[in-house]
Symmetry: C2
DNA sequence: GTCTATAGCCAGATAGAC
DNA sequence: GTCTATCTGGCTATAGAC
């Protein structure tokens, strides 16, 4: 593993846990097992390092989502595939959703300044398809954007609000993982059950 | 309005928007229209000011939730009441959910050190009730904690991930508010439709 | 490339006048 | 109680040896 990779991995851990303003360059250096000066040698500044981490994180998620949204499947199939593959992926990167949500909220201008809008998740095809399937009587009437919001909510929220939900529902890390494993199929079943004709 | 109140309101705005580490005492002072020294005169330190804000925020939410969770209503009635009243309340404080989630994730130890555990949302009665109604055949079988997670997800997520969802679904602030208004009844209908026998 | 040492700045906190 | 001015510590960033 190159030094740059060590820094990158360390920075991902620290930024995703503490956020941009909470992260310390010293902590990233310690996590990487190198000196603080190397961070600046490799990535020039905290902002540029953060930018690299954020774009990488976002870049991993967006294409997966678009691939599923824009495939030839039915809406129900898409919901099943999305929830399953999103949960599988995020279980390996549990801090990712909260990280992205947090930085977009805390500093929208900064994030927007380097967001890649070409690759952003684009649900317009799926929205049209939902409208079509409603017209065909396959799906019960519902505003398409509300349906998408439901799918994202059920899938992403448990990871974004992990600490809070673990505390409120009194569940351990292990139980949490079991529940998320179960949600890979449970969510889609619930959503489809709610809107099927 | 007393100076203390002016500070408190200003601090709430800044902390909820930027988080603990992103917030600046100077910015809070400016927002309050007073001097930075007054902050320390009134609240001693940034941490204590934050603590006051966080506990107030959490203290507003928890009792409402418990009241609904522990009433004499049926599960379906509770879901309807919770989603409706939670959304109504949070529409007046749109930064609140993300604020609480973020700080619990970024600095669990700090937050836990002053969290009021007596008043925390406690779903144990509701969980027992769900099990009972499943046994009675009123609700389709589902792990109670998964059902609760679904209710919270559908209700809280749109506010927590506001920026991201506005960007992805291409909705304006006004459209967002219309959608949230609609969700006051839509969510409960969806959830109940998915689990009713 | 990798380190040590340090510059320079900024934010939280305080002293002290009024 | 409210201000101005200032201290102090910590953090980003850089200079410079090796």
């Amino acid at each position: 593993m190159t030094t740059e990779e060590k820094i990158f991995n360390a920075a991902r851990v620290v930024f995703q846990k503490k956020g941009f303003s909470g992260a310390r360059m010293q902590e990233i250096a310690d996590e990487a097992g190198i000196n603080k000066a190397m961070l600046h040698y490799c990535f020039k500044s905290k902002e540029l390092l953060f930018k690299a981490i954020f774009m990488n994180a976002f870049g991993q998620l967006a294409p997966q989502i678009n691939e599923i949204f824009n495939s030839q499947d039915t809406v129900f199939e898409k919901i099943k595939k999305f929830t399953h593959s999103y949960i599988s992926f995020v279980m390996l990167n549990p801090y990712l959703p909260q990280f992205i949500i947090q930085e977009m909220n805390n500093n929208p201008d900064f994030v927007m300044s380097f967001m890649n809008f070409e690759n952003r998740p684009n649900p317009s095809i799926l929205i049209a398809q939902i409208e079509k399937e409603i017209a065909e009587g396959i799906i019960q009437p519902i505003p398409p954007k509300q349906l998408l919001l439901n799918v994202f909510s059920m899938t992403v929220f448990p990871f974004a609000a992990q600490m809070m939900m673990k505390g409120m529902l009194q569940i351990s890390d292990i139980e949490f993982n079991i529940m998320m494993e179960e949600r890979k199929t449970l969510i889609a079943a619930q959503i489809i059950n709610a809107i099927k004709t």
